[in-house]
């Protein structure tokens, strides 16, 4: 479990980036941290593996205060994938790139070879095994960066803006991959502005604005709340906006409303429709 207790942080005295942040992320949970630029999202996740230590309060990873461990020790459990893959790729080949962190963490050579081969296959990078990572496309470099972190099998995976520069198909692959790693019991935290991606993934949403948590709850509930979404300089997902606009046309109240939009986003409505369909066919 990752938790923050009254966490405040400033880079320079007097300008608080985070103020009294209290957050609890349970094991196996899928959380999206959203908010406007400069809201403190990246600062918050950099505290999860100890890259930043809170100015006040405490960050606990599996009950251990991050002040008591080094970044290398914390990173063994918290894998942080940075927004720009170019900030981490350096090796001569993709395979070497994946092996780098495993060597840092002291894995044996035969384990390294097994894990590298397995991840190259899982993330569809096998054909680039011997290629330099710099010659790959943006989306492929992002996949290499993701594989390089997943290689050491961290318990908690944190992704900073994973959908930036990705086309719809790649986002779809990413979504499936996230589902896959959640099913392995891992905690997944993503930092993103991508409301459509979040609406489709349906994680728990934590909305940050000016260093404070302004909303925390299921995506279907948060992303259809116009007030908090606006406060965090985001827009509602298209489907929720459509429902709202339709509602403004004053249709009969039992046909469509924001409540239905929430249920649609949470999958309940879809489930009900699917349950109803066989009955209708009968």
């Amino acid at each position: 479990m990752i938790s923050t207790e009254n966490v405040s942080f400033h880079y320079t005295a007097g300008s608080e980036v985070l103020q009294n942040v209290n957050l609890e992320i349970k094991d196996g949970e899928f959380v999206a941290i959203m908010g406007e630029n400069g809201a403190g999202k990246t600062t918050l996740v950099k505290m999860f593996n100890g890259l930043l230590k809170p100015s006040e309060g405490a960050v606990l990873v599996d009950g251990v205060n991050t002040r008591e461990k080094s970044v290398a020790q914390l990173s063994r459990d918290v894998g942080l994938i940075f927004q720009n893959p170019d900030h981490q790729l350096f090796a001569e080949t993709v395979a070497e790139e994946l092996a780098f962190s495993l060597r840092n963490f002291g894995f044996k050579e035969d384990t390294i070879q097994k894990r590298v081969t397995s991840l190259l296959t899982t993330l569809d990078l096998k054909r680039y095994e011997k290629s330099p990572p710099f010659v790959l496309s943006g989306g492929e470099r992002k996949r290499v960066a993701l594989a390089a972190v997943l290689a050491w099998d961290p318990k908690h995976v944190v992704m900073d803006e994973p959908t930036i520069g990705q086309d719809y198909l790649q986002k779809d692959h990413l979504r499936n991959f996230i589902v896959q790693i959640i099913s392995q019991g891992k905690t997944v935290v993503i930092v993103t502005h991508d409301v459509e991606f979040v609406a489709e993934c349906k994680p728990r949403v934590v909305l940050l604005s000016r260093g404070k948590i302004i909303a925390d709850g299921p995506s279907a509930q948060i992303l259809t709340n116009e007030q908090v979404v606006e406060q965090a300089s985001l827009v509602m997902p298209q489907i929720a906006s459509l429902m709202k606009n339709l509602k403004n046309l004053n249709p009969p109240p039992n046909i469509i409303d924001a409540y239905s939009a929430r249920r649609f986003l949470s999958g309940k409505l879809k489930g009900e429709l699917e349950a109803r369909a066989p009955a209708q066919r009968r």
Binding site: S70, F82, D86, N104
Partner: protein, 245 residues
Amino acid sequence: MDSPIHRLDPRAKFILTLGFFVAALMFTNIIALLVIFFIQVPGILLAKSGKRWLRSLRGGLFLFIFIFVMNVIFLTPIVTSLGFAIRFLAIMSAFSFFFMTTSADDLGLALEQIHVPYSISFTFTTAVRLVPTMAVDAQTVVDAQRSRGLELDKGNFMKRIRNYVPILIPLIISAIRRSVELAEALESRAFGATEKRTPIVILRMKAVDYLVILATFMGVGLALYVYFKVPLPNLVIPIQIPRLF
């Protein structure tokens, strides 16, 4: 930031910096180099840049030690090795003094007005402007690699140097990518389409600037005199380094 030093003409400040550079290159004598180093301190305090100057010195500490150690390893006497290291510090201090008190715009203007071709002055000022961006990039790269279990301070001296490879390569590659993108953006905006440029601001030297230049020439003259005519005492360090090769 504003101070009498900041208000000096950039050309005068550059000549002053070159003066320190030339003087520092003349000597290997520790006392002379310490004088060249400490003579800069009043100017730095007048520019209210003491803290930043100390930070830049701290940044140069690694190279200071590196220069000293490498010279000792390759059989330079300890006193001379220390002299080389202090020379580096004196030169670094002079240039950081110049860059701390001169904005990139002033620097560009100065270069243009001493008839350096615009493409060259633009390249130079852009490089200066990109330094803070590169510093942010460097910190991000360090964070990214530390998150992958890299411990920069771990291992012996050679291992520590090797630890910087995963930092330097992404940094160099992102700098190259950025410069290519910048060049394309400039070309798309017709950079260099006009041969003759007309500056809005024209730098004019004031009396105090001429005084600084005069003082610089006098200082370099004095350094030459001391170098040729005055036998300077040197420090004696009673340590004998065993021959390695």
